[in-house]
């Protein structure tokens, strides 16, 4: 900008006029900052131009015009900072929307394994079962001896079972069956007026869900810790038909009304006869798919009639009492219904995986 010195008063008036228009029109902080640069900046601003002009002004008017420019400078600076203050106070008071919903923190959810456990338990609750629990550190007697598992059975080896170093007869339970041993013992040992608890109850039915431990290498289908739900019913004249009716109902309630089950002979030392229970594949409805390996059936339960040895070990007379028992792995069922190929995902607790499991029934 080049102005003749005699035009300085006019230039001052024009600059100030321009300043007033722009500042009152400024709507945000960025604009104020820009105006600060344009009018009072140290380089190429209106102020520097006016100061340059002042140098060419004759001596007699220099003092007056100099004072005017100085006055202009302070006026601009104060009015800029006033406008700035005005803008920020307006911003903070008018932009607050008190009706706006505050940001919510992410909501937690029940773990898929626990949710399935609750589902299984609630199905059996409707059949009159209650929940019995036991310690995860068990005696060898409850975990093996009481369940008719021979002293030489391979599952007892220290390569398969976690034994406590300081107490060699204590171990981490390898199934939830020792809970059943505990309950049976209690039923036969507790008496009132000469009648055993079992006799006065006339029988019992219960579930024992919980964590179990085996020395397995971690891979997509094995984990040293997993969850089981076992169930037991003791009464008089209990047979396989009771077992089949119970499981048939429970699997329909759990996996859908069209679910079918079938029994195959199997072997567990604590039941006789023992069986494996297959469920008609809930994904392909028995047509054959990847999950059921094109057989249409998936093995999900082990079951049988309680072995007389198990009853008599607990002090119950197998000539009077009989019953059935069944057990299932919760992770296994969860993997089947969610088509999850890797067991480990359930324990890594990656939020993305857990959220994807929410949509699975």
């Amino acid at each position: 900008m080049s102005l003749r010195f005699d035009l300085l008063p006019l230039a001052i008036a024009e600059a100030h006029q321009q300043f007033e228009v722009w500042v009152s029109g400024a709507q945000d902080l960025n604009e104020i900052n820009r105006l600060k640069g344009v009018f009072t900046g140290r380089k190429a601003s209106h102020l520097t131009t006016l100061t340059e002009l002042l140098k060419q002004t004759p001596k007699e008017s220099k003092a007056d015009l100099g004072a005017l420019i100085n006055h202009l400078k302070t006026t601009w600076e104060t009015s800029l900072s006033q406008r700035l203050e005005q803008l920020t106070s307006v911003t903070s008071s008018s932009s607050m929307d008190l009706t706006l919903t505050p940001p919510m923190s992410p909501q937690g959810a029940v773990h898929p394994i626990q949710r399935l456990e609750v589902q299984i338990v609630s199905v059996f609750r409707s059949l009159g079962y209650h929940v019995e629990e036991g310690p995860e550190v068990e005696t060898e007697e409850n975990n093996f001896d009481g369940l008719n598992i021979a002293p030489t059975h391979p599952a007892r080896r220290s390569s398969d079972t976690f034994y406590l170093e300081a107490h060699p007869h204590l171990l981490l339970r390898t199934h939830t069956s020792p809970v059943q041993v505990r309950v049976l013992k209690r039923l036969s040992q507790e008496h009132s007026q000469g009648v055993s608890l079992l006799e006065s109850l006339g029988g019992i039915r219960f579930l024992s869900p919980g964590r179990v431990y085996r020395k397995d290498e971690i891979d997509p289908t094995h984990s040293p810790m997993f969850h089981q739900v076992e169930g037991m019913l003791i009464g008089k004249n209990i047979g396989l038909h009771h077992l089949k009716g119970t499981l048939s109902y429970a699997m329909k309630a759990l996996l859908g009304a069209e679910t079918d089950i079938r029994f195959r002979p199997g072997y567990f030392p604590f039941v006789e006869p023992g069986c494996e229970v297959d469920v008609k594949c809930p994904l392909c409805k028995g047509q054959g798919c990847r999950v059921c390996k094109s057989s249409g059936w998936i093995e999900i339960l082990g079951a049988g009639l309680v072995h007389p040895q198990v009853l008599s070990h607990a002090g119950i007379d197998p000539a009077i009492w009989s019953g059935f028992a069944f057990g299932m792995g919760i992770e296994r069922i969860a993997m089947i219904i969610s088509e999850c190929p890797d067991l480990r995902l359930f324990f890594e607790n990656d939020v993305r995986f857990l959220q994807s499991m929410r949509e699975v029934r």
Binding site: R264, P265, G266, Y267, E276
Partner: protein, 69 residues
């Protein structure tokens, strides 16, 4: 346990046993088929047995269970 189908068929007298029947009956008798393998015109069945059934630790024992089916 590995069992050739031809020997099973020879052991079961009085009726025929097809591969399809063997695949269907064995698992329902409590002996799941782990794998199958074709070997010079015969089929080799890898059969899983349980610890309480030492009577089926022979081909004849398995044939006897199958024959009852």
């Amino acid at each position: 346990m590995r069992v050739p189908l031809s020997v099973l068929q020879k052991e079961i007298t009085g009726r025929a046993l097809s591969l399809e029947q063997a695949r269907q009956y064995l698992p329902m008798l409590g002996f799941p088929i782990e794998s199958m393998e074709s070997l010079s015109g015969d089929t080799l069945l890898e059969i899983e047995t349980t610890a309480n059934r030492s009577d089926v630790l022979s081909i004849r024992g398995i044939a006897r269970d199958l024959a009852a089916k």
